[in-house]
Amino acid sequence: MKKNKTMIVVFLTPAVLMFCIIFLYPIVRTILMSFFKIEGVTDAVSKWEFSGLANYTKLFSTELFRISMWNIFRIWLFGGIIVMGLAILFAAILTSGIRFKNVFRAIIYMPNVVSAVALATMWLQYVFSPKFGLFKTIGELLHWEWLAKFQWLDPSHLFTALLVAYCFGMVGYHMLIFASGIERIGTEYYEAATLDGASRIQQFRYITLPLLKGVTKTNITMWSISSAGFFLWSQLFSMVVSNTQTITPVVYMYQNIFGAGNSMTERNAGIGAAVGVLLSVCVVLIFIVCDKIFKDDDIEF
């Protein structure tokens, strides 16, 4: 036994060391940094100024940070409902044996292949444009005044515009995960249900949904993680300077570490670290709640 232990140590050392260096050390350092005032993110520890909980109290008392948390919550909740709903709907339709399945799947997945920068520019400068936008043209064609005149990009509606554009890009990805989950379910269940006289909708409700529990959990977890790190689309929807409708905690973190927009503003990597810690706590909380709601399914199929 003793000899085996040595081997265990020898073989585990590299992995454990790697884990410590690549994961544990940055985590510990970030948590530590969040209690200090640090001007440059790579400043030596000797330059750090201990400030206790000041970074956290400042965050909670800053309107802009609260706005950013509210934005990310809205993206997570509303975006999550829209994306998960559409994704599972498309997945169910695609796996129901319709013709040209692969073509539709490719079309729905397409936005994931296109660069987010190109997509966002298309939405922002073309689709939502108040002068020659796609929605404006459609509204005029259908004589829907409200659609033709709708100002997607003004400060009151920019968030809606961002949400529509972002969800458009995300549906395909989550649809694929759902579709693979549905395909795993054996056809004999559906055949038996059909013989018993169950309708398509009943089959979806009583066979597909319960058996997708694990996949749904995966999807929600991944959605939460990508929402927490929401950065690129926010940046693309408010070029140069950030915007109250699109700012997210990660953008706020970036501004505190690297400076905001074109002006020279105060930098504090400690606040950035505190934002990171808070976001991690949020993700862990969501993960725990998800785990509680979707208990590991005891159904085997």
Partner: protein
């Protein structure tokens, strides 16, 4: 991790060296293992026991090898990671470098093992981290001039076009990690304030080279001012932030002189509106400057900055500024879509397309929209008008430049300064100005690009320098809130009092 990063070699050839050692190590390990297995000629578990228990040497050896292999993997990872960003920036210039030099460079360190640990600087190549993206006209002009510089002086230059975000995010960590960077560039304020402690004092080099005889005195003074009284950076690509307008619309509307006071400005707007054009447009990216400029005209820039930083929204000037803009909005002087203008929609689809007349922006604007505006678009420029009872007049504006700076740890400061001088004077400066439709830095280059000919009188008339946005963006926690509410004010969905109330509600 820090240490490993610090010791990393940055060029691809060095990475190759590392991988070579890594490969050898794997081979060594394989032979040891298979030899061990064959010697004992028994079942594998038994052999493992022997390695672990009886043979202390082997145990030590295997643990060492594991750790060594891990270290090699790590260095391997780091190497490839570093070479990737470099490849998009440096690959192109390297290919075009004189063919004889490249192979010679590659072989030299490989022969001498000791050279691997020596700083990369010793090979006599200047390393320049540039804020431009390789595709931009500025980068192309600089690249062309650097090739001429190398041909003339024999000093090789490794220019890496990092782009604005690349420099902003990457420069300080790289300098902290001891990366060999001789010179870099960015905005005058960022270089001097954010990276001030990394800069070499250039007073003596400038004096020794008689640099200032043909430099823009105002900008040199600005560099000294932001450098804490001493010269730490050399300006180039000067810019000025003022009202840019479409001369054709002004002529059609019968505006004969540019407005210098607020009343004249209102009058100009009315004439343009009567002629059937949109007087003013803007985008989310620059809109806060109108707020900053107006308030700075009223109470001066330092006071404006104080108001923004301390959240003193009860200050009279805030309401006065808001009222002025409420008036502009109520008279219909702003673009109908001003609230929806997400940069670059306003500058591209309104100003450059000829439906709007004026836009408060930087002198880089004509270059940005030149493909849309067309060749016959005539640009005019005037400084933000003075307001009644205000502290500042048209002599005050945000102007500045990109600046070059030398790393205080550079081993080749003279050569770096030589390159800076080369790039900011004479032909190279003229080339940059021509290719990027920018303002020349060399005062001997009196000829400005035709598109900017009307900017020269404005630039020459300025004596007070505002920082970016005239202080409107001095508080990052407030900037988006100011922009949101100011945009609504310009669009008419918020009145002056509503604007002030909204800012007060946000606190900070």
């Amino acid at each position: 991790m820090y240490k490993i990063y610090k010791n990393r070699a940055y060029s691809a050839k060095r990475w190759l060296d590392k991988t070579k050692t890594f490969g050898e190590m794997v081979i060594i390990m394989k032979t040891t293992n298979s030899a061990g297995l064959r010697d004992k000629n028994s079942r594998i578990p038994v052999n493992f026991e022997q390695i672990g228990g009886k043979s202390m040497k082997k145990k030590l050896l295997s643990s060492l090898l594991c750790v060594a292999m891990m270290a090699a993997t790590l260095t391997g990872c780091g190497g490839s990671g570093d070479s990737t960003p470099a490849s998009d920036g440096t690959a192109a210039p390297a290919e075009e470098a004189p063919a004889e030099e490249a192979p010679a460079e590659e072989e030299a360190p490989a022969e001498d093992a000791a050279a691997e640990e020596a700083p990369a600087a010793s090979d006599g190549t200047l390393v320049y981290w540039s804020m431009w993206d390789a595709a931009e006209p500025q980068a192309q002009a600089i690249k062309q001039s650097i090739e001429a510089f190398t041909a003339e002086t024999g000093i090789a230059v490794d220019v890496q076009f990092k782009g604005r975000t690349g420099i902003r995010e990457g420069l300080q960590p790289a300098l902290d990690a001891g990366t060999n960077i001789d010179l870099f560039d960015e905005d005058i304020d960022r270089v001097n304030s954010t990276w001030g402690s990394y800069l070499l004092d250039l007073e003596e080099l400038a004096k020794a080279n008689d640099y200032e005889s043909t430099a823009n005195a105002g900008l040199m003074a600005a560099c000294r001012e932001v450098g804490g009284g001493t010269l730490k950076s050399i300006p180039y690509q000067p810019n000025v932030f003022a009202y840019f307008y479409n001369v054709a619309i002004f002529e059609e509307a019968g505006v004969t002189a540019v407005p210098t006071t607020w009343d004249e400005f209102l009058d100009t707007c009315q004439k343009i509106k009567d002629a059937g054009y949109t007087p003013i447009t803007n985008d989310n990216a620059y809109i806060s400057s109108m707020f900053g400029y107006h308030m700075s005209r009223l109470i001066g820039e330092p006071a404006t900055e104080e108001v923004v930083k301390n959240g003193d929204w009860d200050n009279e000037a805030v309401l006065k500024t808001a009222q002025a803009y409420e008036e502009l909005a109520s008279k219909g002087y702003f673009s109908e879509t001003i609230e929806s203008n997400q940069w670059p929609a306003g500058q591209n689809t309104e100003l450059a397309m000829g439906t709007a007349a004026m836009y408060l922006n930087g002198s880089w604007l004509p270059n940005e929209v030149k493909d849309i505006a067309g060749e016959d678009f005539q640009w005019g420029c005037f400084s933000y008008p003075a307001v009644e009872g205000g502290v500042d007049g048209t002599e005050a504006s945000n102007y500045g430049a990109q600046v070059f700076a030398i790393n205080a740890k550079s081993t080749m400061p003279e050569e770096a300064f030589q390159l800076i001088t080369y790039l900011t004077k004479g032909e190279a400066d003229a080339l940059l100005s021509e290719m990027s439709v920018g303002i020349p830095a060399d005062s001997a280059n009196a000829e400005w690009p035709a598109l900017l000919s009307n900017v020269k009188p404005v630039m020459d008339s300025l004596s007070t320098r505002y920082p970016w946005g005239a202080g409107a963006e001095a508080n990052a926690d407030m900037t988006p809130i100011i922009i949101e509410n100011f945009t609504k004010l310009c669009g008419g969905s918020l009145d002056a009092q509503g604007f002030v109330d909204a800012l007060k509600a946000a606190g900070n």
